[in-house]
């Protein structure tokens, strides 16, 4: 027993050694890459190249700064990114040709955002999207944006808080949950929408804005796609209208006029929950949207006191009305563009799979004239710290 055991061990250890040596010799050093031999891509911009049909590819890469003695990094004002630009027939070939310029291989695993230029988006994003699903290092959590004009321009705008514009933009998108006025999507969401036969993809719009001498980027509304082509955009109020239906309003301010005196009341949304129910009536479908919202009173510029139950009720009604209007606007816009940004088609599909088979082909004609019932219920939970408004006595 002991002898065989011994023998086994020799055999196996030798076998392992042989295998490793074989592996060593068979090829060089395949997927090995030191951290200092890759360019860490943080953001990608895709445009249509001028004067040609090619894709212009902009990658924002991290520029490591050598650490000085004592671990202190170089001066604070130093720019630590570099935008590599290249072009090619496809995204992949553009990535390859970026190596004519960039000395280190591009590494996409830490990519945070993808920005599509407007022209490119108008021609259709699907051909370029495939790269992000197929290439192994792209994660589905990448945020997707559409630039008002050129994506490269957006990436070139200097960052103010983070080291790199791409990181700045990622944080900007995350901060959107506080205002809920742009429909942020990541790669997974936009892919899911692209794969659906009817639901229209959306993406937040981003533009460069001049603030005095400084340039900054700002999010301004939502781009709406039909299939994979950019067809229109929603402004900020319409965007929120859409987000109410999608259930993605986390925070937000709704302003309503004071009922008795001039001035405004700002109501802050805390919670919102929509319910989208398709109903079949005589072979036609109708959508019933029921939005429930809860919030608090944020501030008011009029001297009225809303702390009585009646007044509170009034406030709630006004808020419901405002939300109602926002949603209506969004619906109207979507029906104008004939883009099912709300995913009504999928809702019908889920509830009436059989009926859907007939409707699916004609959805483009059904959707613009679809009947949509809307009900909004709101609650104003409290008036904040002050029980009464500040008034001059």
């Amino acid at each position: 027993m002991i002898r065989t055991f011994t023998k086994n061990h020799i055999i196996l250890s030798l076998k392992m050694i042989v295998c490793t040596f074989l592996i060593f010799n068979v090829t060089g050093c395949w997927s090995r890459q030191e951290v200092d031999s890759i360019s860490i891509v943080m953001g990608i911009g895709l445009d249509i190249a001028e004067n040609s049909e090619q894709v212009r590819f902009t990658a924002q890469v991290f520029k490591p700064v050598e650490q000085k003695e004592g671990g202190r990094e170089g001066g604070g004002g130093e720019v630590s990114f570099w935008n590599v630009e290249s072009s090619g027939e496809t995204v992949s070939s553009a990535v390859q040709s970026a190596l004519h310029e960039a000395p280190r291989e591009l590494y996409f695993s830490h990519n945070q955002i993808v920005i599509f230029g407007q022209n490119l988006a108008k021609n259709g994003i699907l051909p370029h999207m495939d790269f992000f699903v197929r290439e192994h290092s792209n994660r589905l959590t990448i945020q997707v944006l559409v630039a008002k004009n050129q994506a490269g321009e957006i990436l070139a705008t200097p960052a103010h808080l983070e080291k790199m514009p791409a990181l700045d933009m990622r944080d900007l998108i995350e901060a959107q949950t506080e205002v809920s006025q742009s429909g942020t999507v990541n790669l997974k969401q936009i892919m899911t929408r692209l794969m659906s036969t009817t639901t229209a993809p959306i993406a937040p719009l981003i533009e460069v804005s001049e603030q005095g001498s400084e340039q900054t980027v700002r999010l301004s509304g939502t781009a709406v796609f039909k299939k994979d082509k950019l067809v229109g955009e929603l402004d900020q109020r319409e965007t929120r209208g859409m987000l109410w239906v999608l259930g993605e309003v986390r925070r937000g301010v709704i302003e309503v006029a004071c009922p008795e005196s001039g001035g405004k009341v700002a109501l802050i949304t805390i919670l919102s929950k929509p319910k989208v129910v398709p109903v079949e009536e005589h072979g036609k479908v109708k959508i019933i949207i029921d939005v429930k919202e809860e919030g608090i009173l944020g501030s008011q510029s009029c001297p009225e006191n809303f702390s009585s139950p009646e007044k509170n009720k009034q406030l709630e009604e006004m808020k419901a009305d405002a939300i109602h209007q926002e949603i209506r606007k969004a619906i109207t816009k979507a029906q104008e563009l004939n883009a099912d940004i709300f995913g009504f088609g999928d809702a019908v599909h889920r509830k009436y799979p059989k009926l859907w088979k007939q409707l699916e082909q004609d959805w483009d004609t059904i959707f613009p004239d679809m009947e949509i019932d809307l009900a909004v219920e709101t609650i104003v939970r409290n008036e904040g710290r002050a029980s009464e408004p500040l008034t001059e006595e």
């Binding site: 002991i2 055991f5 011994t6 061990h9 020799i10 250890s13 392992m16 490793t20 592996i23 060593f24 997927s31 090995r32 890459q33 030191e34 951290v35 200092d36 890759i38 860490i40 991290f62 490591p64 700064v65 050598e66 650490q67 003695e69 004592g70 671990g71 990094e73 590494y107 695993s109 830490h110 945070q112 290092s137 994660r139 080291k163």
Partner: protein, 531 residues
Amino acid sequence: MIHFLKKIIQSRKMSKQVIDQGAASSSQALLSRQLAHNVERLMQVFGASNDIVLREFSFGHEGKMQGAVLYVEGLANKLLINESLIKPLMYDIHIFEGRLEVTTLEAVKSCMISLGGVEEATTLESVVDACLSGDAVLIIQGFEKALVLNTKGWEDRGVEEPKTESVVRGPREGFTENLRINTSLLRRKIKNPNLTLEPLKIGKKTKTDVCMMYLKGVVNPRLVEEIRRRLNRIDTDAIMESGYIEQFIEDAPHSIFPTVANSEKPDVVAAKILEGRAAIIVDGTPFVLTVPMLFIENFQSAEDYYSRPYFASLIRMLRFGCYGITILAPAIYVALTTFHQELIPTPLLFTLASSREGVPFPAMLEALVMLVAFEILREAGIRLPRPVGSAISIVGALIIGESAVAAGLIGAPMVIVVALTAVSSFVVPAQTDSESILRYIFLFLAGVMGGFGVAVGMLGLFIHLAGLRSFGAPYLSPLAPLSVHDQKDVFIRAPLWAMLTRPRAIGWRDPEREHFRLEPSPPDKGGKSSK
């Protein structure tokens, strides 16, 4: 080829027989009646060694009897020999004068010698052996027998606190080099007649005393049989330390994992004997072996059982974690930075990329250099005299920690990783050899294949461990052949009153360790008496 091998083996066997026969013919000789003849032959055996003391004297009625005392200076207690052997024979014998004729060996043995252990010896070999183990031998003219007198008494180190396993709470005594003291330390812990002691002599040249101790009734008799078989197999010149024995009896000599445990603390060994293990004590070393050994024993410290269970459990888990860190940390660092950068959080990747910038070596080489440097420092620290040792560590810390980073030879994160690895390795000291070797293997795998290599290596390690046995007990015992009851002493250390049974793989002959319902509970408070 095989024929050839057979021939070699045969010839070897034959030559061995010849040697054995030769040895037998020279030392198996019986003593003769002639004192002079005996003395002459003995002196021939010992040669010119000047630590052999031969004292010839005459005693008895009118000094009629001739005798000789033979002992080794330094091994035997000189004072005892003078007081209890030579003095009674030469002076006190006169008290009996007229009343008793002290003429037979029996009479000398029963009336004259005031010593505890007296035996008779008939062969030259046994006389020589006795002399060399510290006994005095009395040979008297006219008798074919010699008296072997237990006068062992050499300088010993006292019972001190062991250096290797220090505890905050727990007994401070440790084994010494003396076999008898060691067995007595154990006897004092376990006052039970079932504590059996089986003496053996191993080593053709050194004749080292080895002793197996176990608790009859608890220990598996097949285990004792197996140990006896393996100990008797040992046919070697010398046993210098229990490590010699270990290498001859272990189950997996080619494994980097020890399958025989050792300890310097009587309380640890006693606890293991009580669990159903057997201890092997070797004369001349404070390290006592215990078998069978399980992998988790590396993570169990004596103090776990002396302190309260909660913190002990936490520390137990920490030790497992540290073992993982010490074998895997450099490998994982290398795998992450050279293969799987996508798994590093983005801000950390920026830091790493910045610190790697300008470092001339690939990460694997960097790690290798640092690990080797650490081993060098440790070895130097152990070997050097204590005052110099601390200087080494300062120099090492300065060179590696500060200068190498400042000079841009090594990235700062690597220093942190290696430091963590090094510190963690001291948490599980029993596995030092496997730790340092596995670390390099995993580093190599990580450098070649990244995470896949490390995972395959872990699988291999696990297969190896799961296949090991130590004296019949599966090495990964309470884990790999799962035993739910024994989980009380693996990752957590359950309260003593909850550990009702001995480990299944070891002490299952007498499973009950204690009565259940021993959980202490205070008497009810608040009026209602417990009666």
